[in-house]
Amino acid sequence: MKPRAALFVAVIVLAWLVWDTGADPVRLARGVPWILDFIMRMMPPDLRVLPAALLGALKTVEIALLGTAVAAVMALPLGFLSARNVAPGPVFYPARAVLNFFRSVDTLVYALVFVAAVGLGPFPGVLAVVAYTTTSLAKLYSEAVEGIDPGPVDAITATGATRLQILRFGVMPQILPLFLSYVLYRLESNIRAATVLGFVGAGGIGFYLQTYLRMIDYPAASTVLLVTVAMVMVVDAISSRLRDRLV
């Protein structure tokens, strides 16, 4: 009876969602020709803008790299402070609350704030990546610290090791590969997030995409899109290969 009631509620809610968002398959079907027209007008890509697109892509990668690197370090103390098995209650609960607060805002929203604060260009983009990534990495770090196996820590403690030695030989070998793998994972997401930062004036390839779309220069925009796809795929491939080596 209970699962059936849940199913009934779910159907009601979904029906309401369809109605309230105006979701309409017929409208989508009617839009298909327009999508095809859009794609046709993008062909062939205008390769004259390739140098500009590549420069934009490079800037996007730079924003993501610098932002992720700074965040990876800044997240370290926060990560330990919000780990239940390390931080005492009076530290842990506020630290977790701060993390959850800042993490609930997306990189793009931070970019809007920082563009207003420091002006246009890649720099507010870097700041936005740092703001979001620091808190999201800190959350991942803290979970890695909480998942630590106490066994090796006990064993190193029992040898008469100092606190520093226990950290280095009992704790770090367990968490370091995880930390690095999380940083690479965040880097991959940040590359994707950074492609749209240009839309709000925070630098990178998104700026070119938005400019060409506004100028209704679809062949140029398609070149930018293709470069974006290639950039994301290359970074993903490198990053996932590095992550495989860490395990």
């Binding site: 066994g151 090796p152 006990d154 064993a155 190193i156 403690t157 029992a158 040898t159 008469g160 090791a161 100092t162 520093l164 030695q165 280095r168 030989f169 009992g170 070998p173 367990q174 590969p177």
Partner: protein, 248 residues
């Protein structure tokens, strides 16, 4: 070698794990601690090197008080006490040799060791200890690529590298294939006989305990229920340690 007086351990929130234990272990003894799970065996062993903090009572090892010792003295006493765990507790991603070298951490300067620098004499000692457990050919392998029995032997080598006066082993064979039990216990027996090391080993297998121990200490509900030579372990004694089948 080990002097325990009035050892009482209350685990949070309010479980009395040990109710005032008095026990003296002499140099060179091979003590096997028996008892049901939950009888206090692990807590007893872990309070001997203060991995568990005693609530009351004193523990002295090799003539030095470990209870009440400050941080520096505590580490100095811990160096004298090797420990072998049920789950081996090796650093899985480190090499076999690095794991054995960890046994030297109490002796080397903290900063140098953190940078991975160990004296040449320690490297040689680590190899000697590996040879003692018959694994010197695996020195360069990553610890987690070894079988369970091999990992436990590495853990014993790590304890030996401390040049300890005492080795504590908490159910060292419980996670292993029964066929490997005797190989691990034989190594411990050799260490005990040839180096005169004092051993305190907890075991849940009665037959193994009787075969290797020079002295049996039976725990029941946080108290010593029996203390004597293996020859004195009669069915009545077994009953006293393990209780009737329907109890608890």
């Amino acid at each position: 070698m080990i002097e325990v007086a009035g050892l009482r351990v209350v685990l949070p929130p309010a479980t009395v794990a040990l109710h005032g234990i008095d026990l003296v272990v002499r140099q060179g003894e091979f003590v096997v601690v028996l008892g049901r799970s939950g009888a206090g065996k692990t807590t007893f062993l872990r309070s001997l090197n203060r991995l568990v903090e005693p609530t009351a009572g004193t523990v002295r090892v090799a003539g030095r008080a470990i209870t009440g010792a400050g941080a520096t003295e505590l580490r100095a006493v811990r160096r004298q006490i090797g420990m072998v765990f049920q789950q081996f507790n090796l650093v899985r991603r480190a090499s076999v040799l690095e794991n054995v070298l960890a046994g030297r951490l109490g002796y080397v300067p903290s900063v140098a060791s953190v940078l991975g620098r160990f004296p040449q004499t320690d490297l040689e000692l680590a190899r000697t200890c590996l040879a003692q457990v018959g694994l010197v050919h695996l020195a360069g392998r990553r610890a987690d690529t070894l079988s369970g029995g091999e990992q436990q032997r590495v853990a014993i080598a790590r304890a030996l590298a401390q040049r300890p006066a005492v080795i504590l082993a908490d159910e060292p064979t419980a996670s292993l294939d029964p066929a490997l039990t005797s190989s691990i216990m034989d190594i411990l027996k050799t260490i005990n006989r040839e180096h005169g090391l004092t051993l305190v080993v907890s075991q849940h297998q009665l037959e193994t305990a009787l075969a290797y121990a020079t002295r049996i200490v039976g725990f029941r509900q946080g108290r010593v229920a029996f203390d004597g030579p293996p020859a004195a372990v009669t069915p009545t004694v077994v009953q006293a340690i393990y209780g009737a089948g329907d109890e608890r």
